[in-house]
Symmetry: none
C-alpha cells in the first residue's frame, strides 16, 4: 500500500542484518556476539546497523522473533496436516528435528530462547510462549477427540517441547548421528505411549 521504494530497501536491509545476526549468534552465542561481528557478517559498517536498529539488543530481539515466525509457520503446518494425534506428534517432531538439523543457527537461537535467566528471558519469552501455545492447541484438539489422556494441556506441551529440544541438542553434539527417523520414532513413542489415551494393548501403537 504505502510501501515506498525506500521502505522496501529498508526491509531488505533489516532482513540482511537479521540473517547475519542469526549466523553469528549461532557461531558465538547470544551473549558473545558484538555489533562489529554482525556488521562484518552482513558486509556493512558498524554504524549502519544503527540506521536500522535502535541497539544491539534490538537487532537480536528482532532477529529472534522474526526467525521464530518462520518456525511457527512450519509447526503450524505440521500440526495442520491432520491425522491421529500420534501422526500429528510425529509430524511435529519430524518437522522440528529436521528444521533444527537444517537450520542449526536457528536451533541455537531456539536453545538460547529457553535460557530462563536475567532480563533477557522477558524478551525471549514471547516467541517461546507462542511456540508452546501452538503445541497446547494441538494437544487440546486431540484431547477433545479423546486421543490424549487427562492431564493439563500446557504441561503436556512443555514436556513435548522439552523432549524434542533436548534430543535435538543431543543429536547436534553427536559425531556419528543416528538416522533422523530413529529419533523421530523414539520421541514420538516416548511422548505418545505416555500421554496417549488408554490402550488395550500396546501393540496397536506400532
Amino acid at each position: 500500500m504505502a510501501t515506498t521504494k525506500g521502505e522496501i530497501v529498508e526491509q531488505f536491509r533489516c532482513q540482511a542484518i537479521r540473517e547475519a545476526a542469526m549466523r553469528v549468534v549461532s557461531r558465538k552465542g547470544y551473549d558473545h556476539v558484538t555489533v562489529q561481528d554482525i556488521a562484518d557478517e552482513a558486509g556493512i559498517a558498524k554504524g549502519t546497523v544503527y540506521l536500522y536498529f535502535r541497539s544491539r539488543e534490538d537487532v537480536l530481539e528482532k532477529t529472534m522473533s522474526i526467525s521464530f515466525e518462520e518456525f511457527h509457520i512450519l509447526i503450524r503446518d505440521a500440526i495442520g496436516r491432520g491425522g491421529t494425534f500420534r501422526e500429528c506428534v510425529e509430524q511435529v517432531v519430524k518437522a522440528q528435528l529436521h528444521y533444527f538439523e537444517q537450520q542449526q543457527e536457528f536451533f541455537r537461537l531456539y536453545l538460547a530462547m529457553a535460557e530462563p535467566l536475567g532480563e533477557r528471558r522477558l524478551r525471549k519469552h514471547a516467541s517461546y510462549r507462542t511456540h508452546i501455545a501452538q503445541l497446547v492447541t494441538m494437544v487440546e484438539a486431540a484431547a477433545e477427540k479423546g486421543e490424549v489422556r487427562d492431564a493439563p494441556a500446557e504441561r503436556i506441551a512443555i514436556a513435548l517441547a522439552s523432549v524434542i529440544r533436548d534430543i535435538g541438542l543431543q543429536r547436534m553434539t553427536e559425531k556419528n548421528k543416528r538416522p533422523l527417523e530413529a529419533d523421530v520414532a523414539f520421541v514420538r513413542d516416548f511422548i505418545c505411549r505416555g500421554i496417549a489415551a488408554p490402550l488395550v494393548t500396546p501393540e496397536e501403537n506400532v
Copy 2:
C-alpha cells in the same frame, strides 16, 4: 583432624562466596555476573574474592561443580532407594522438583548448564554429563529387569531429565503453584507410560 582454624575459616569464606555467586548467577545469568556483583552479594570487597579464587571463572566453575555435587548425591540417593522403575522415577522426579523448589538458585544454575554455546559449555558439560550418567544407570538397571521398553538408555535419560527440568522451570514461573505432588505424578506418568514395558491395561498405572 588436621584442619587448622585458618583452613576452616577459609572453607567458610569460600562457601559464602560460592553461595553469593549462586544467587547472582541465578539473578543475572552466568555471563552477566561480575566479580563486583559477587563481592557485593557476599558483602565483601572485590579484591577479597581473589584471595579465595584465582579468577572470576574459578568462582563460577567451583560454584557450579560443588552445587552439582550436592545435587548428584541427592539424585543418587533417590535412585538408590530402590523399588520398581516407576517408584524409582517418582523418587527422582520428586527429589529434583523439591530440590529445585528449595534451591531456586541452584535450579537456575542447572538450567544455565544446558546452554549449549561457546566454551562455557565444555566447562559445564562435565557436571551435566554426570547427571545424565546417573539417570542412564538407573534406566539400564530397570532395562535389565525388563521394566523399560527397548530404546537407547541415553536417549531415555536425556528425555527424562529434560521433562523434569522444563516442568520445574514452568512451576517456577507460575504464581499460583500447583501442588508438588500433582506435577510429580504428571511427570512420573508421562515418563513411565512411554518407556515402561508393555501393559495390559492402563489402569494398573495408578
Copy 3:
C-alpha cells in the same frame, strides 16, 4: 602510490600516539606509563589507542623500535662520512650528543634501553644490539686500517657507547650546560687516546 587517504591518516595517528608515548615514557619511565597517560598526552581517548595498537606493550615496543630506526640511520650516516678513526669517532659522538640534546625524549628512551632486568630487556635488546653492532662495524673497519689498538671490537663498542651515553646524561642534568663542542672533544679524546694506535707524541692529537 597505493596509499589510500585512510592509510595516511592511520599512519599519522600512529605517529602522534608514538610521539605522545615517547614523551610520557621520558617523563615517567617505561614501566610507569599507563595507557591513560599516553591517551591524555595525545589528546585522545583511551580506547582510541587500541584502534591503532594491539596493546600497551605494542605501543611502547613500536615507539622504541621506530625511534631507534631514526637514530640508527643518523649513526650510520655519521660513520659513513668517513675520514680517520678519530674523525669518525668525533662525528658519531657529535651526532649522538646533538641528537640527545634535540630529542631528549628519545634519549630517555635510549637510557631506559640499558635497563637490564626482566623480560623487557629482551624486547629492548634488539635495538640496543643493533646500535652496538653499528659501532662494532666502525671499530673493525678502523682496526683493519691499523688505527685501533688490539682489543675485542665489541668491548670497545660497548665502552664507546657507554661513555657517550653517560656524558649525555650528565649534560642533561646540568643547568649551565657546557658547550657541546667541549664535550664532543672530551669524549673523542677519551676514546681515542685510549684505543688509538700507538702514538709517538701526544701533541699530534690536537
Copy 4:
C-alpha cells in the same frame, strides 16, 4: 650508647628485610618487586614489613642506600691502596668487576640506580652521586700529581664509572665469560691511555 636490646633486634630485622629486598630486586627488577615478594623472601608476614619501613618505597630506598654503603667502602679502600693512577684505576676496576660478579644482586641494583627516569631518579641519585664523588676525588688526586691530562674531573669520573658498569653488564650477559683479568686490563687501558698524562712512548704503559 642508648642502644636498647629492642633497638638491636629492630636493626637486625631491618637488615634481614633489606637483604631479602636486594635478592628479589635482583631477580625481578626494581619495579616488579612486590611487598609480598620481599616478605616471602624474608620469611615474614607482609604486615611485618610495615613495622620496620614506612612503605614499599622506603624499603627499596633504604635497601639501595645501605647496599651502596658497603660498595662505597670497597671502592674507598681500593682507591686508598695508593700507587700510580694507573694502578689505582686497576684496583678500582678490579674491585668493582669482582664485586659485581660476586654480588650480582647488588650489581643489578647498581644498574637500576643509573636509570635516570621519573621520580625514582631523585631517590637513587644520592648514592650514585656519592659513588661518582669518590672517583672524582681519585681523579683529582692524580691530577695534582700530574698523572692525568687536563680535563674536568667529573667528566672523567663519569666516563670511568660508565665503562666499568657497561663492561660489567656485558660480562653478566655472556655465557662463556672472559677471564676477569682480561676485562680488568681492557678497562684499565681503555681509561688510562686516554686520560693519562702525556707519554713519550706508549710502550711504557705495558
